[in-house]
């Protein structure tokens, strides 16, 4: 033991914090905790982002004027502006930076099909969050609505194009079908509910919220269709990629649960007791589903008989549907908590089907319009 202790001591000697580093950290801690509302400046993030932003700006050949402007802006102010822009809303001075620079940049960063889809999902969520924040602050005027809607619709088109690859004979990646659509669909649905609640609460912005809702529901429907078709297809063809699909959906569930738990942690003590309890229940249910599915899979693997082969297809489809339920529960729990903390909005349940008649009617109208245009 003496020998080891000596070595430990030696190791310890080699790792020190300089007085300068200590002071710097102290200063940062104090600055952050003194002004809790101020945006946190993460130096490492800024340094890295600055480099990437610079590269992106310089190589944006398609829009040289914009690139130059960005370059100038970035050189002048460092990535601090980019970071600060993240929290901006339509109408704020920094909003164009959020959209053009930050989002343009991140879309550029996403290379693979999955990464691009995931990014488009994020964009949809960002627009919905902006709508919700504006609505809760009574700032959702027609101009803001138009800005958000235009961007949302453009993004929805990108999503639809990627999802319709099967129509053109291509194959939508399994990971997108099994993983991303599940999360997108559940996220859209949960946001729909929040937006509806906000519309009820803020009669002032009702018209604008409803308009955005129509867009959200429209893409939500398309995504749901894709997911259902995929699940039906998997069941009928007894797809050999069943295993893979289930594994991917399991991954989606675990990620959704983790996000929900993080939201629960973040919400702290200021959250309404009812909301917190409900969220905890939902997360627990989601975890139970995941455990169930995992058990089912384990049982299947042990039982190699012919009987299990026959039932494995249907049980895996059931697993897929069950896991989608888990994703939905986690997604809803997370949004429930966020709605409470960000928007001071109390949502305790998410109805299975939204019976908002006027919205359904509006969607019908839109679909008819589109049909007419296409004819």
């Amino acid at each position: 033991m003496d020998n080891l202790e000596k070595i430990f001591d030696k190791a310890k000697e080699g790792v020190k914090l300089s007085q300068q580093e200590k002071e710097k950290m102290k200063g940062f801690i104090l600055s952050v905790t003194k002004t809790p509302e101020a945006p946190v400046r993460d130096e490492v993030f800024e340094r890295r982002t600055f480099k990437r932003l610079l590269t992106y700006a310089v190589f944006s050949f398609s829009r040289p004027a914009a690139a130059f402007a960005v370059l100038m802006l970035v050189i002048a102010s460092g990535a601090g502006i980019s970071l600060a822009a993240e929290g901006s809303l339509p109408g704020d001075i920094l909003y164009p930076i959020k959209i053009e620079v930050n989002e343009g940049f991140r879309e550029h960063l996403a290379r693979s099909d999955e990464a691009k889809m995931e990014w488009f999902v994020s964009v949809a969520e960002r627009r919905m969050e902006e709508t919700e924040r504006l609505a809760s602050e009574d700032r959702l005027d027609d101009k803001a609505r138009a800005t958000i809607e235009a961007n949302f619709a453009k993004n929805a088109e990108k999503i639809k194009t990627r999802l319709s690859a099967t129509a053109t004979g291509g194959e939508v990646k399994l990971s997108i079908n099994a993983d991303v659509t599940s999360r997108l669909e559940t996220s859209l649905m949960a946001h729909e509910e929040i937006l509806s609640k906000l519309a009820e609460k803020n009669s002032g912005s009702k018209k604008e919220i409803t308009s955005v809702l129509v867009e959200v529901k429209s893409i939500s429907k398309s995504v749901k269709e894709v997911r259902k078709n995929f699940e039906d297809d998997v069941f009928e063809k007894r797809n050999s990629r069943l295993e893979e699909a289930t594994a991917l959906r399991l991954k989606a569930s675990l990620e959704a649960i983790a996000e929900a738990k993080k939201a629960l942690e973040k919400s702290g003590d200021s959250i309404d007791e009812e909301v917190r309890k409900k969220a905890e229940e939902m997360i627990k249910e989601a975890e139970e589903i995941v455990a169930e599915v995992k058990l089912g899979k384990a049982a299947e693997q042990e039982d190699q008989s012919i009987m299990s082969l026959k039932s494995s297809a249907s049980s895996t489809t059931e697993a897929l549907t069950r896991l989608h339920e888990a994703v939905k529960l986690s997604s809803q729990a997370k949004l429930m908590l966020e709605a409470q903390s960000r928007l001071k909005l109390k949502v305790l349940e998410f109805p299975a089907t939204s019976s908002r008649v006027e919205i359904e009617e509006k969607i019908e109208e839109r679909n008819e319009e589109e049909l007419e245009i296409n004819l």
């Binding site: 033991m1 080891l4 070595i7 790792v15 914090l17 200590k22 801690i29």
Partner: protein, 165 residues
């Protein structure tokens, strides 16, 4: 707790916490970030009006959670990867580690890497941070006896790995 008490705690424990974190994840910058985060979270907790009995134990608990999260995120940051140049040239970890700690210490760290994270945590708290079993017990939330037993087992295991590995 007043701010000056918190700052006193910062002066007393920041370096030790940093060292602890470093020996868990072997990333100096990240370790600094995490210690920073630990203090920020603790202070925010206190500002909310919560009571903290033993602030040192609290710090170690918060830090450990951050470390565990980071490790789960990155799977495993093995010493093998670091010392065999798994990092970019701009990271001077490769050369620095040998120079700073000495070859024997690096071997000791390598041996620890082969152990479970909880055991590693105990050993680092005991032999790097210099915490006694009682203090470790308040961090981990187990009785002092349990900690003593776990510690001696962990040490035994470490010795075996170190001498035979």
């Amino acid at each position: 707790m007043k701010e000056k008490d918190f700052l006193a705690a910062y002066e007393a424990y920041s370096e030790a916490l940093f060292r602890h974190c470093y020996f868990r994840i072997y990333d100096r910058e990240k370790a600094k970030d995490m210690v920073q985060e630990t203090f920020i979270r603790t202070w925010e907790y206190i500002l909310k009006g919560e009571k903290v009995e033993n602030i040192r134990a609290f710090f170690y608990r918060v830090l450990n959670n951050l470390v565990v999260d980071e490790i789960r995120r990155k799977k495993s940051l093995s010493l093998e990867e670091i010392t065999e140049g798994g990092f970019q040239a701009s990271d001077n970890k490769v050369g620095k580690l040998q120079v700073e700690l000495g070859a024997e210490a690096v071997n000791l760290m390598r041996s620890m890497e082969k152990m479970e994270e909880e055991k590693k945590q105990l050993l680092i708290m005991r032999f790097i941070d210099g915490l006694g079993p009682k203090e470790i017990a308040s961090v981990v939330g187990e009785s002092e006896n349990v900690i003593s037993v776990r510690l001696s087992r962990a040490l035994k295991e470490l010795r075996e790995i170190f001498n035979n590995g």
